[in-house]
Amino acid sequence: MAPPHEHISLEGGCFALISGLPSPRRAVFFVHGWGGSPSATWHRFQELVDDEEGRDDVRGWWQDADLYFFSYESRRFSISEHTERFLRFLDHVFPIRPISVLRASDPTRSHRYGELCLVGHSLGAVVLREGILDRAALAAATARPITKSTDLLNGQLRLFAPAMHGAKPSGWLGLAYHLLREIREIKPWLEAARESQTIIRQLHSESDKLKRLRDDTEKLAATTSHSALVADVLYGEEEHIGERDKFRLDRIELPMPGRDHASVCKPDKGYREPLQFVMRGKHA
């Protein structure tokens, strides 16, 4: 049995769980959503990947993976800025894992990954899709020299409760607005705050940003073979923040009973589906 993952802190609040195997096959990147954090959003993923009570095939898959948990200030900046920051993070450790990331003295632990899995929750799904689209556009622009890695285009994309189809506002004001706007005594006061947040405007389902993201991704997914342009999608049955939908070629799983926007991506001893969904996608 492989040793458990080793926790390594990275810049900007990001961290990695490095496989106990010398040359893990794959890298898995986790991108949290609005108001989330790399530890809270993916709560218990970090320990359950090494859980000995899990199924052998699932545990074996995760033991053969380095896990990278991306952190960003989701309440500030725009989707494009989040995306740029994520791509820089990814390019730093994928496809070649540098020794500097590990801060380890053993040079044999630097190696090239064979597989990539990109996992997003809520706004994190939008960030990932924007990043994939960015690199797919580069790859499609054959008349121009490619100066950045397009390796992520061959990755697998797994999305929990993605906000690609619009999301109701979140955060202090957003949650209050979402829950209380039907109350006639409070609605007028909340209306003044409705358009106060840049990111919320971008996540409205009718926003030009999301329409472009959808149109361009669907177009490229239909005309190229890049696997990352097609996602596996999972919502909870009690989703209350985002619109439950998918892009045209995406594979959507049946919604998870008893799970909502926040809990659908949090495995526990009795809810191991998130681990299997990341591993296999739809019909895990």
């Binding site: 209380l180 039907e182 947040q197």
Partner: protein, 286 residues
């Protein structure tokens, strides 16, 4: 026509967990015991009223309750001693539990003329019952904390609400969000007030509606007990803290929200809710 499936579901998600919660609380703090007692007596009350309005079949309700009569009686003793309910509910329960009859007479038998004009009583009861159940399951410990937390615990909870940065997601399942519980409490007050109101209802049904909502207010009102000084003081503190946090977030986005506008809206909502549940003296607390 009594709805057996609704009773079975209510028993599964509310009544039996309340019995189990009461039994488990015997080895817990007094505050936990008070909350468990109130929860069980409320569940018992919903079944009683459900049978009285013929929303629940009496035979099935009897089967559901009989194995747990001792627990109900013990919880009722505590609830009566601690005055957890108003309007003599626990005294009525005590008499009922000693009676050979499991249930009091139906509303239609006690108030024949009123309920002759109100055939939709069972379906309206079902809506109230489901809404109260949804709130009890989603309040994140709000009712328990505001009603029963010790002062020291309360100060910690309130301080966290005032000072800590808000995360939509919590780090562990055991952490509870007072903020979200508070929002869900407001939502519940609004829905109950709407459901219990008479907008669009036939005038002939009003007396029967009033009788039903007073009964429901007696069993359910403890959760948001706006006639209790302790609950009301804490509720007001949360309201002020929430407005301050909401205004601060808006200000950071260069949006100015009217000071005390939220507090005023909540006060008006409270009035509507209190009127719906039959409270008459809510203005005195303003």
């Amino acid at each position: 026509m009594p709805n057996a499936s609704l009773l079975i579901e209510y028993s599964r998600v509310a009544f039996r967990p309340a019995v189990a919660g009461w039994e488990k609380a015997q080895s817990s703090s007094e505050a936990k015991q008070r909350f468990a007692a109130a929860s069980l007596i409320e569940s018992y009350g919903w079944i009683i009223v459900g049978v009285q309005v013929t929303a629940f079949p009496a035979d099935l309700a009897r089967q559901v309750m009989i194995p747990h009569v001792q627990s109900i009686a013990a919880a009722n003793v505590l609830a009566e001693r601690e005055s957890l309910f108003q309007s003599g509910l626990t005294a009525q329960n005590r008499v009922q539990l000693r009676s050979e009859e499991t249930f009091p007479p139906s509303f239609a038998a006690i108030y024949p003329s009123e309920f002759a004009e109100f055939p939709e009583a069972p379906s309206l009861f079902s809506q109230w019952c489901l809404e109260s159940l949804a709130f009890a399951q989603s309040d994140g410990g709000f009712a328990e904390t505001l009603n029963f937390a010790l002062d020291q615990e309360w100060e910690v909870v309130l301080g966290r609400l005032r000072d800590e940065p808000f995360l939509l997601e919590v780090a562990t399942d055991s952490e509870r969000s007072l903020f979200e519980g508070y929002l869900r409490a407001l939502l519940h007050m609004n829905r109950m007030a709407d459901l219990m109101g008479v907008d669009g209802a036939r005038t002939a049904s009003w007396p029967a509606r009033a009788l039903m909502r007073v009964s429901v207010g007696d069993i359910h009102g403890w959760r948001l007990n706006l006639t209790s000084g302790l609950f009301e003081t804490r509720f007001d503190s949360v309201t002020e803290a929430v407005e301050a946090r909401l205004r601060a977030e808006a200000t950071a986005d260069a949006v100015e929200l009217e000071k005390n506008g939220f507090i005023r809206g909540v006060r008006e909502l409270r009035l509507r809710y209190a009127e719906a549940l039959g409270y008459l003296s809510i203005e005195a607390s303003d």
